[in-house]
Each structure stands twice: as C-alpha cells, then as structure tokens.
C-alpha cells in the first residue's frame, strides 16, 4: 500500500502537536506508512476569513505544489480539509493552470475519521477508555464536510467507553478564528453554552475532531477551573499516553 501524506495544520503543529503524533500513531498501528512534507505551513484559512483572498490564494498554490502529487492526504483538522476541498477551487477558479490541480487535490484529501471509516472501513482501532464520552459536532466537519457518523462509529467501538448524547451537539462552540477575538462577548456565551451542555451530559470527556474547537473549549475550561477534559478524537483512539498531558510540553 502506498504511503499517506500527513497534513498537520498550523494550530496542531504549533500548539497541540500531540494531535499530530496521535494521528501518526493510529495510522502506524494500522500498518499504514506515513510521510510528512516538512515544507508545509498554513493552509491560508485565516487570510480567507479576514478577506485577504490574495494571500489565501498564494497559500493555496503553495499547498498544492507541496501536496499535489500525494495520492492520499490526511488531516486531523476538519476545517483545514474543508478549506482545501471547498475553498481552494473557489480561490483558483480563474486560473487555468491551478484550477484543475485544485479540483484534483480536493478528491484526495480526507479528514482523519472519514479516512478511517469510509476509506479503510475500520471502526475499531483497538482503543480502550473507561468512562463516558460525548461528541461535539464541529461546524466545518458536520455542515462543511458532512461528517458525523464516522467519528461516532469510531467512538462506539472504543472498548469500555459509553457514548452519551450531548444536547445541541451541532451548535457552534464560538471559535471562528478572529470572531472569538473581535466579538469575544458573543463567543464567550457560545462556549459557555457548549461547556454547560457538556457538564449536563454527564460525560467525562468531550471529543472533537477540530483543533480550533479543542483550543477554544479547553482554554475556557482552564480559565474557569472546570475539572472536565476535552480531547481530540485522535487522542482517544491513539491510547492512554495521549490523554494524560495537561499541556503539550
């Protein structure tokens, strides 16, 4: 089997590298060889969201030249996959050289849970967790990529775990990049709702497939001194050593 290429977005690379390592560990355990293109930096989403399309387009071209030849690209970050799949073709629509390459690349990039369940047909990766877990449906994963059943199947297959429902699971946690800074007073209410629903669910951990949501919810829990854990799906699937660390150092 050919190697799969890891797309480790900047938030993961910089602030939560354990998500990247966990992704690698899961794939490794399934016998899948991975490569990591060291040239990769950021997919350009912050520039697109702020209206700097020309900068986002530069990032898109760069991304395509780095990953363009890889057969399969996997990322543990749904919104970055959505950026590549949905927005790259949009940004490069007028460009006869880059547009076909963007369209082509869009068919070869997968969010982690999507790759495991839809492509490999794996739901049980041999993970164990004793406790109750609940799942937050991140916006770009659910409504952008249409992924919802895949992570839930993976969670249900974790031995020892009980998956409990989360009220308003599909409601935004309030991250949204610069939205959380500029309109923090609205964003705070949104993350507060999310955390309240998490606490009310009775779950021990809240699982997400999105590093942005992870940092938002975790940052709120830490400041408010709420003794609850939020983890990335990869953390939970990769094994207990990925669940311990309070920070990444």
């Amino acid at each position: 089997m050919s190697k799969v290429s890891l797309f480790i977005p900047c938030l993961v690379d910089t602030f939560v590298p354990s998500i990247g390592l966990a992704t690698y560990t899961i794939l490794n355990r399934l016998g899948i060889e991975t490569v990591y293109r060291e040239e990769q930096t950021c997919c350009g989403q912050p520039a697109l969201n702020a209206g700097y399309r020309h900068h986002a387009t530069e990032a898109a071209r760069r991304f395509i030249s780095i990953f363009g030849d890889d057969e399969v690209i996997i990322s543990p970050a749904g919104s970055c996959v959505y950026m590549v799949k949905r927005h790259y073709p949009d940004l490069l629509r007028e460009d006869p050289h880059w547009y076909p390459r963007a369209i082509d690349l869009a068919t070869r990039i997968y969010e982690l849970s999507q790759y495991l369940v839809d492509v490999l047909g794996v739901t049980d990766v041999g993970a164990r967790y004793e406790g109750k877990i609940t799942y937050h449906e991140s916006c770009h994963i659910l409504r952008g990529l249409g992924i919802s059943q895949q992570p839930k199947k993976l969670l249900s297959a974790i031995s020892g775990a009980e998956v409990v429902p989360l009220f308003a699971a599909e409601m935004c946690c309030g991250f949204g990049g610069e939205f959380a800074e500029r309109y923090h007073y609205i964003s705070e209410e949104m993350v507060k709702d999310k955390v309240n629903n998490f606490v009310a669910s009775g779950a021990d951990v809240l699982v997400t497939c999105e590093p942005g949501c992870y940092l938002n919810i975790k940052g709120y829990l830490h400041r408010q001194k709420i003794e609850k854990a939020v983890v990335h799906l990869a953390h939970l699937l990769a094994g207990p050593e990925f669940l311990r660390g309070e920070n990444e150092n």
Binding site: T14, E38, E39, P46, M171, C172, Y185, E188
Partner: protein, 481 residues
C-alpha cells in the same frame, strides 16, 4: 427608521445582558426549530422538497428581468396598475401621491419589511397621514417606537406587562389584565374599527406570480386580508425579487415558507389578488396598485455573487438557528433586517463601510446555509463582502482595512511562504510567550488579543512543534521524496 448598523457592538453588549430577552431567545427559537423539523416530516421527501424550493428560487433570480416583465403584463391585464420606483424616495413619492389623491387622512398597513426599509411610516407621518400598523407585533413595535426584534415577530420579545401598560395608556384597553387573549381581543377591536373606515390599505407581498399576475400574502392574523378587502384602494409594495415563475412554484414556496417561518404546514390565511374587484364580485378593492421598489436590487443583480442574496424569501429560519442572533436578538443589527438574512442584505443596501460588524460578527458555522429553503450560502457571502471591503470596493463602498491589519497579514503571508521564516517566527513567538506563561498557559493577551483572554486561556507554543517531534522521530530523513 434610524439606521444604527454602526452601533452593533454597543447595542449587542447591552442586549446580551438583557435577561428577559435572553430567556426568551433561549426558549422560542428552539421550539420553532423543533416544530419546523416535525412539519418538514409531513413531506414524503423533505430533502427533495427543500431542493425544489431552492431550485425555484435559483430559477426565479436567474430569470428575474423576464419574469418581472411577464408579471407586469399579466397583472396589468387583470386590471392592476404596476408602478416602478427606482429608489426609496421615488417609492415614497408615488405612494404618498396615491394616498393624497384619494384624500385619506390615515392608512392601515399589513406587515411589510420593504416599507420599513424605505422609511414609509416616517414619510407618511410628515405628510399628516397616519399610518396604522395592523399586524399585532408591528402595532406594538410602532406604539413603542422600536425597530423590529425579529423579521417575523417584530415585538415578540416585549413582556406582556409592558404591552398591558401600553394598551392602558393609549386607551386601547380599559381593563387591567395581562391575559394574552384579552390583550389580543382589545387590539382586534381597536383595529377593526379602523378597517371600517379606511380608504386606502397598504400591504407587502410575499410572492408575485409571473404567469398569472397574482400577488400572494401569507399571514396568521387576518389583518392583511382586511387591508386588502376593506378599502377602496389597495397599494401593495414589493421588491423585484418577490416574483416567481408559476403558480405551482408559488404554492411550493408557500409550503416551505410556512414550515421554515413558524413551523406550520400552511399559515392561517393565504390571500391572492389577481387584479382588483371585478364587476361581478362582491369583495375587494376597486383599484389595485402594485409598487415595485428597486432600491438597490439592480445593483445587487449585476454581480452574480451578490445576486444570490435575492433568493431570500424572508422566512426568518436563519434567525432562529443562528448562534449569534439567539444571543443578541434583533436590535444590534440596527435596521429592518436582522440575523443572517440581514447580515447579507444590509451591507449591500447600506454599503460595506457602515455595516462592518454585520458581515464580521459570524463564526461561519453555516447553520443558516443548512436551514435556508432558498438555497443561500450566507458564509460564502460574508467571505465575499470581507474581501470586497479589504479591496476597498467602490460599488459597495468598502473601506480598506487599517494599515496595521494589512501589514500583519502581509507578514503572515511571507511566513507561510517559507518554511524557514515560519519556524523562525515560531521560535521567537515561543520565547516571548514563555516569559508570560504559567505552566504552559497564557492568561493575558496584552494589546494584541485583548478579547480572547477575557474569559479564556491559551496554551503557549509547544517546546517541540510537531515538525520538531517528527524530525526527532524519523531522524530528519523525511521530506520531499
């Protein structure tokens, strides 16, 4: 109506602490959303029904110029008079002179968002013509002199005690009661009396059918029907995008409109006017005027991307599902249209410069897009407006961003373009963050990020980034093949 879009943050910060509004927003939108889901289930194929309504709106907008011509022709044939107004001023002049020619001293109004947009009530009042809103919500909002809180329920946030006091003060009701049925009955008697004496009734339009020249109104109170059947003269005001190709299309849209709006299969009243009263009919106005107000729509139509905005059927489903609207309510949006539909429409009508917060106060969660029966991709439009604003677009009056922000994104783009520069920036950032951090967490963003850190922490850059961990893991042998 005073336009207050520039005051978004001030009003939103106030409204977000309004306990009554918050309790209400936490309760009603989820109930409507639930009812919507239930009632959508009465379609044999809900997804198919949704796809069809989206296609109808897409077709309507694509064929807009032709459909409008066909509509005018058919409506005129039916005996209606179609009048075109380029902008708000022309529209108000036309409507005023129609009313003045008929020597009416007051007019009754059915709920109409476009009359809010053009500021018709103010113009009428200035000309000594009393406009009486007959939709209960609009009536209350008008008496309280407040902008609409929700496009469907303009005064739905007003506590019942406040309505009681208002009705007592205005002599609308004599008995001191907070019983909603009694309050409704009092308003009904008050308004019924007005209907008995009207010369001119004003309404909006939900749909205009091109093939038949029919205008359709969808409502639950019956007041629009009164506005249309009691007066000698009916003036119905619409924007061009209300037109749909066929009656069958209109009926399907009505199904989706009612389901998306109030979670009903169909509203209590659906009225259709195909021309004024005919010789052999006992009901209806002697004359029917249809005023089509462009007010910026042609400009919106020119650009295939902004054209998408014209799909909107004003159902309000996007408001009920929006995590921002359901925290701050309708006032911060500062004009007739609020929530996601207002966020896509107001910037085009008022210009990008004075509506900055409307297309930025959004986490791009996309729930509006998902629920929209008209097939609008709101987040894509917000991104488009932001880009027009950064460019300083002339047509929609973008203003270019502050130089500091442009510089920041320029520097960011240089770092993204080079692995070495990227890593160097991370190393510098790590050193700076370490100085301020406690146990790997930052609690203060200084001047750079004051907002985030009000209620949240953020981890510092890891001692080893993923790239560094990978290099350690693989001995640096992996890279480009």
């Amino acid at each position: 109506m005073k336009i207050r879009t520039e005051e978004f943050n001030t009003i939103a910060k106030k409204e977000i602490t309004n306990a009554y509004a918050r309790a209400f927003l936490g309760l009603l939108p989820p109930i409507i959303a639930m009812r919507r889901v239930q009632v959508m289930g009465s379609f044999p194929d809900p997804d198919g029904a949704m796809a069809l309504s989206r296609a109808i709106r897409g077709e309507s907008v694509a064929r807009l110029p032709d459909l409008l011509e066909a509509f005018e022709q058919n409506a005129t044939q039916n005996g209606a008079k179609v009048l075109w107004a380029r902008d708000a001023k022309e529209a108000k002049d036309i409507i005023l002179s129609l009313i003045q020619e008929r020597q009416a001293t007051f007019v009754t109004k059915g709920k109409s968002m476009v009359t809010e947009e053009i500021g018709l009530n103010e113009a009428l009042a200035q000309a000594q013509i009393k406009p009486i809103e007959t939709d209960l919500g609009e009536f209350i909002a008008q008496q309280l002199n407040r902008p609409p809180f929700h496009i469907v329920g303009p005064a739905i946030n007003v506590p019942v005690e406040e309505i009681r006091d208002l009705f007592l003060n205005q002599g609308i009701m004599k008995e001191d009661t907070t019983d909603p049925v009694q309050l409704g009955y009092a308003a009904r008697l008050f308004l019924r009396d007005k209907f008995h004496h009207i010369k001119v009734g004003l309404t909006g339009v939900n749909m205009a059918v091109a093939e038949t020249g029919t205008i359709i109104n969808v409502e639950n109170e019956g007041n629009i029907r009164f506005n249309k059947s009691s007066p000698q003269t009916q003036i119905s005001i619409m924007t061009p995008e209300k037109v749909v190709p066929t009656m069958e299309d209109a009926m399907h849209l009505a199904r989706l409109l009612c389901r998306s709006c109030t979670g009903q299969k169909i509203s209590a009243y659906v009225t259709m006017d195909t021309g004024p009263k005919k010789a052999d009919e006992i009901d209806g106005p002697e004359e029917l005027f249809i005023v089509i107000v462009d007010n910026g729509r042609s400009k919106i139509y020119e650009d295939p991307q902004t054209r998408e905005v014209l799909r909107c059927i004003r159902c309000g489903a996007c408001l009920n599902t929006c995590p921002v609207y359901t925290k701050i309510g309708g006032y911060p949006y500062g004009w007739a249209y609020s929530g996601p539909m207002g966020q896509i429409l107001n910037p085009l009508l008022l210009g990008l410069a004075r509506t900055q917060d409307l297309y930025r106060a959004c986490s791009l969660c996309g729930t509006c897009k998902t629920i929209c029966p008209a097939g609008i991709d709101h987040p894509a439009l917000f991104l488009y407006y932001r880009a027009l604003d950064v460019k300083g677009d002339e047509k929609f009056r973008g203003m270019k961003r502050p130089w500091q922000e442009r510089m920041m994104f320029y520097l960011w783009s240089r770092a993204v373009a080079s692995k070495n520069l990227w890593q160097l920036s991370l190393k510098l950032g790590r050193r700076l963050m370490k100085r301020k951090a406690m146990n790997g967490w930052l609690s203060d963003g200084g001047k750079l990020l004051p907002g985030w850190f009000k209620e949240r922490d953020f981890p510092t850059i890891s001692d080893q980034t993923f790239r560094e961990k990978w290099q350690a893991l693989k001995g640096g042998t992996y890279g480009r093949p």
